[in-house]
Amino acid sequence: MTTARPSAAPAPWDAAQARAIAEGLKGLEGPLLPILHAINDRFGCVGDEAVRIVADVLNLSRAEVHGVVSFYHDFRRTPAERHVVKICRAEACQALGADRLFAEVEQRCAGRPVTVEAVYCLGNCALSPAALVDGRLLGRVDAAKVAALVTP
């Protein structure tokens, strides 16, 4: 089954392993998303070669698989930086300065191996503003706290 959080650093690309993942999950009813999650978690992204393999295993066209990969925010075409910071920019966090927080974090993380991206709701709306730093949820967060977690 897929994981909700890539816990380890992504593995280097391995076509045989990607095919094994797809073969292992293809018996599910509606197997495409679970397969894409598993590949995305393992290798940090779903690249062109992965699309080709998944299409082959599921007997779909590459266009169909590409269409699904590109529809969902979670699936990356290229790997993220070493750290991933997702900052909630939805209304509850906006009410406590999420836009300013986002700008500050971007500024502090500039030049570092950090992917900073927006997310729309982490379900921590009573403890806004919220962020997800390398899969770890933070509430009542500020830029200093985030920066401290991604500084080498």
């Binding site: 089954m1 897929t2 994981t3 909700a4 959080r5 599910l28 009813e29 509606g30 197997p31 495409l32 998303l33 679970p34 894409l36 999650h37 269409g67 699904v68 529809f71 969902y72 925010h73 979670d74 699936f75 909630c88 939805a90 209304e91 509850a92 966090c93 906006q94 009410a95 406590l96 997310v119 729309y120 709701c121 982490l122 379900g123 921590n124 709306c125 009573a126 403890l127 806004s128 919220a130 997800l132 899969g135 949820l137 933070l138 509430g139 009542r140």
Partner: protein, 512 residues
């Protein structure tokens, strides 16, 4: 008997340090050589007090919070005069005044112990459902007056009856746990704090309509809920609650947990079904309804987490018990989620009918920043903005609809007087543009045109003409969109414009 301490493992509590508090407590227990056990629970939903630790005593559970690792030891001292001691948790007014049916066990039990679940009243509803004829089970749900808690408010029992009546070789139960609305977290809390309740509710639905397979579609932004619910499914199978012989009844039912991939629109039911089938999450035209032609083209019950979670209580206590809560056509209790710029945010489960003022002022205690409340948005990003002047509106489906809003999934987001409603209106279009599935033109293009027009308004350009354009655009999107994303974007935009017109005229003086 050993001392029992309860520390929430809920994602929100962990986000402000509950794990570190639990570790500090464990170290202190070892250092003092005390005979004590730490139980990780879900959350009570009193988030401003988190990390909130409870200690079992003869006089009920005593709470301490908000704790930090440095102050955690206070729990072991038993000093009730300490400023961090909250006294008996169930006596805290904020909690005591609530009517917790769905969330009765959340924050109380060990979420992964089936024995704990049963000890606290769990499985009574399913046991009764297994004794009744399927039509009688559906009858109870219809009688209870339960309406969909996801946002649309469609009568749950009627949906089930349609699925049961459809001719088909197979039927499905699908739980919509794609809780994407900002300001909402009840589904997450429940799946982390009392997952067996959702499993029980879905199993009852399966028994009632003749489905042996259910799916839970959970958003990927909830990694903790994914882990806990996955473990709960395994425990339910091991305990005979799920599988080929549900509680020894000879009936089969099982649930598969699936993860979304970061698309707000997949909270729309037909788009969710597309996604489950392995396609782009694009909405389907209705009819046919999912109840007739749903997952893989087969009749499907698709309900929100809170709708399924209300069902065990209805079966256990009877339809009349549930229906007696609430008002008008809004029956039962509603878990309201209070969020944003608010002092005491969290989960408030009460019978329908509470006013916005009671929610924001009495429960919330005003804003966290200490500034005056200016607006609340109710029902997520597609819900209306409400001015303080309308705070006497009772929290129920019809009263909200009559004033141009909706309760949606029950989220209430508070803003102080620094909020700019013109910018919030622009954001509503921006969010729609970002999350539009692209299937229908009013939503796909209208959202982007809306952002552009709002920017002109914010800059004070040709104000009257551009405001007219926004109203017109809202009408087209409302009437011409396939689903609620494009179809409800007018709600935040026009409510902001109607109740806070001064924010839409702010720059004209400067521009003129």
């Amino acid at each position: 008997m050993s001392l029992r301490l309860f520390v929430p493992a809920d994602a929100a509590a962990r986000s402000v340090g509950a794990d570190a508090v639990a570790a500090a407590l464990a170290a202190e227990i070892a250092a003092r050589g005390v005979d004590a056990e730490i139980v990780r629970t879900g959350s009570r939903g009193l988030f401003w007090l988190d990390p909130l630790v409870e200690v079992e005593t003869a006089g009920g559970r005593i709470g301490y919070g908000p704790l930090a690792p440095e102050t955690a030891a206070v729990v072991l001292d038993g000093n009730r005069a300490h400023p961090l001691c909250l006294g008996p948790v169930e006596e805290i007014g904020w909690l005591k005044s609530q009517q917790r049916l769905t969330f009765a066990r959340c924050g109380v039990v060990d979420p992964l112990s089936l024995a704990d679940y049963e000890r606290h009243g769990g499985l009574k509803g399913l046991r009764r459902a297994l004794e009744l004829a399927p039509a009688a089970v559906i009858g109870e749900v219809v009688e209870s007056g339960l309406r969909g808690r996801g946002g649309a408010g469609f009568p749950t029992g009627i949906k089930w009856r349609t699925v049961a009546a459809a001719e088909a070789p197979r039927r499905f139960i699908v739980c919509n746990a794609d809780e994407g609305d900002s300001g909402t977290f009840a589904d997450r809390m429940l799946m982390e704090g009392d997952p067996f309740l959702l499993i029980e509710g879905m199993t009852i639905a399966g028994i009632a309509v003749g489905a042996d397979k259910g799916f839970v579609y959970l958003r990927s932004e909830y990694p903790d809920a994914f882990r806990t619910f996955g473990q709960a499914l395994a425990a339910a199978r091991a305990g005979g609650l799920l599988g080929p012989d549900v509680l020894g009844s000879g009936r089969a039912f099982d649930i598969e947990l699936r993860l979304g991939a970061g698309a707000y629109v997949c909270g729309e039911e037909t788009s969710l079904l597309e996604s489950l089938e392995g396609r782009r999450g694009q909405v389907r035209a209705k009819p046919p309804l999912p109840a007739v032609k749903g997952l893989f083209g087969l009749p499907t019950v698709i309900n929100n987490v809170l709708s399924f979670a209300a069902v065990p209580t209805i079966l256990a206590e009877g339809a009349a018990f549930y229906r007696d809560f609430g008002t008008g056509r809004s029956r039962g209790t509603m878990p309201v989620q209070l969020a944003g710029n608010v002092r005491r945010g969290g989960l408030i489960e009460r019978a329908f009918g509470l006013t916005l003022r009671e929610i924001v002022e009495e429960y919330g205690g005003g804003t966290l920043t200490g500034r005056p409340v200016r607006a609340v948005q109710v029902g997520g990003p597609l819900g209306a903005y409400w001015p303080v002047g309308l705070f006497d509106t009772p929290f129920e489906y019809e009263a909200f609809a009559a004033r141009g809003g909706m309760i949606g999934h029950g989220g209430v987001v508070v803003f102080d007087d620094t909020v700019d409603l013109a910018r919030q209106a622009r954001f509503a279009f921006e969010f729609c543009a970002l999350e539009s599935c692209g299937k229908c033109t009013p939503c796909r293009l209208g959202s982007t045109r809306g952002v552009e027009t709002m920017e002109r308004i914010i800059r004070g350009e040709r104000l009257a003409a551009n405001l007219e354009l926004v109203r017109d655009l809202c009408e087209v999107m409302r009437d011409g969109s396939l689903c609620a994303l494009g179809g409800l974007t007018h709600m935040p935009v026009l409510s902001a414009l109607e109740h806070f017109p001064e924010d839409f005229a702010r720059d004209t003086a400067a521009a003129a």
